[in-house]
């Protein structure tokens, strides 16, 4: 319905550098928590596209799922690079997902009490799963004698 849309002056917003802000008071002090949370979602989202696709390819496509065994992980974790990779994946993906859920509760849970309960739950599960995951990634040591040492050379690439 074209009739309703005709009035605005076209493209005025794109003019560069027209604002001469008087003094410092017209500048925002800082973004704050919600701004950080929004920014984190964007940045981690971009990083996760690559991290997750590479992870999926390695664990499910290039190596068949039947081959990604305990010994596969043992071999992989001989290389600190993959530990760092997994730690980064965990550290970005977990808060990314849980922060997304937090934002959904902000949208749809209108009672303060329930929001507090659910968001505390989200925060605690973030803490719990991040600690569990990162502890495992950092401290994992293979049980001696379970995996043949040749396996190591075979799968680490």
């Amino acid at each position: 319905m074209a009739t309703t849309q005709q009035e605005a002056s076209p493209q005025v917003r794109r003019k560069p550098r027209l604002v001469a802000a008087y003094g410092s008071s017209s500048k925002p002090t800082s973004g704050g928590w919600e701004t950080f949370s929004w920014y984190f979602l964007r940045v981690s989202g971009v990083a996760l596209i690559f991290l997750v696709i590479i992870h999926l390819l390695l664990m499910h496509v290039i190596n068949d799922v039947s081959a990604t065994t305990y010994c596969f992980v043992v071999a992989r974790y001989q290389n600190p690079f993959w530990r760092a990779y997994d730690l980064l994946l965990l550290t970005l993906a977990l808060p990314h997902g849980l922060n997304g859920l937090r934002i959904i509760t902000d949208d749809y849970l209108h009672s303060r009490g329930w929001r507090l309960v659910v968001q505390s739950g989200l925060f605690l599960s973030l803490l719990f799963f991040w600690l569990m995951g990162s502890m495992t990634i950092i401290t994992f040591q293979p049980t001696p004698g379970v995996c043949p040492t040749t396996h190591t050379a075979m799968v680490s690439r």
Binding site: A2, A8, K15, V19, A21, S25, S26, G31, Y108, H110
Partner: protein, 242 residues
């Protein structure tokens, strides 16, 4: 745009609700003889004056200036006075805007809307002593926020926004447009304060760039773009974001 004139029959389905006698809203059909160059508001007036005097809707200027008659027409928010019969077809569905409490028929309660509007302090804030003449501004500085001065506060954008439907506490697009109008005004010193308000939980970040607001605006304001500019100003800590 089509220019066909001549009388035709418009079948119009209106969502009625009169809280004193209806338990819940219901649809009512009307058939109206209308010209192609009639506006939807004329059609509604015909119903009210000739068929059913109880049909209730707001209108005042009937020229797209006062913002009284925003309503949901065929699923999109429009001003009834800016919509020609030619452009809406022979079957029309008219209902009150979503996201607003309905007072009666097409009349919605605008109070929460204006409360949210006031939240962003939509007035000039400048702590310097007032000059003897106007506070001067270059044409470029004036143009920076020109588009957002065109808002008539009809609420069409806010009522079209799924984020508002989900969370009525969210300030919504219209408030941010009016914050934009002052944040990017070189004479105003309240930008930091407004950005503080809009950087909060119910501020700009609830916008998911759905673009319903831009599509709904009867003044053609690129609402989503204005919101994006405020987001960037908050993000980068400066209004110098172009």
């Amino acid at each position: 745009m089509a220019t066909a004139t001549g009388t035709r029959t418009i079948h119009i389905k209106v969502k009625r609700y009169q809280p004193d006698k209806d338990a819940k809203p219901y649809w009512q059909d009307f058939a109206v003889q209308a010209e192609g160059n009639d506006r939807l508001v004329d059609v509604l007036n015909k119903i009210k004056w000739e068929q059913d005097g109880t049909l209730t809707f707001r209108r005042s200027c009937v020229h797209g200036v006062c913002g009284s008659d925003a309503m949901r027409v065929n699923g999109r928010n429009r001003l009834a006075c800016k919509l020609l019969v030619n452009d809406i077809g022979a079957r029309v569905t008219v209902e009150p805007m979503l996201g607003f409490p309905v007072i009666r028929d097409l009349v919605v309660d605008m109070e929460p809307f204006f409360a949210k509007y006031e939240k962003v302090k939509p007035y000039l804030m400048n702590d310097e002593p007032a000059p003897r003449t106007e506070r001067l501004q270059s044409p470029e500085q004036r143009e920076r926020y020109d588009e957002t001065t065109k808002c008539i506060l009809c609420g069409a954008c806010t009522g079209s926004c799924p984020s508002v439907w989900a969370n009525p506490d969210w300030v919504g697009p219209a408030s941010i447009v009016n914050a934009h109008r002052f944040i990017f005004d070189s004479r105003d010193h309240g930008g930091a304060e407004r950005m503080q308000i809009l950087g909060d939980r119910n501020g700009v970040w609830r916008c998911r760039t759905i673009f319903n607001c831009s599509e709904a605006c009867p003044r053609g304001i690129h609402v989503t773009d204005a919101i994006e500019e405020v987001k960037r100003a908050i993000m980068f800590g400066t209004t110098d974001i172009a």
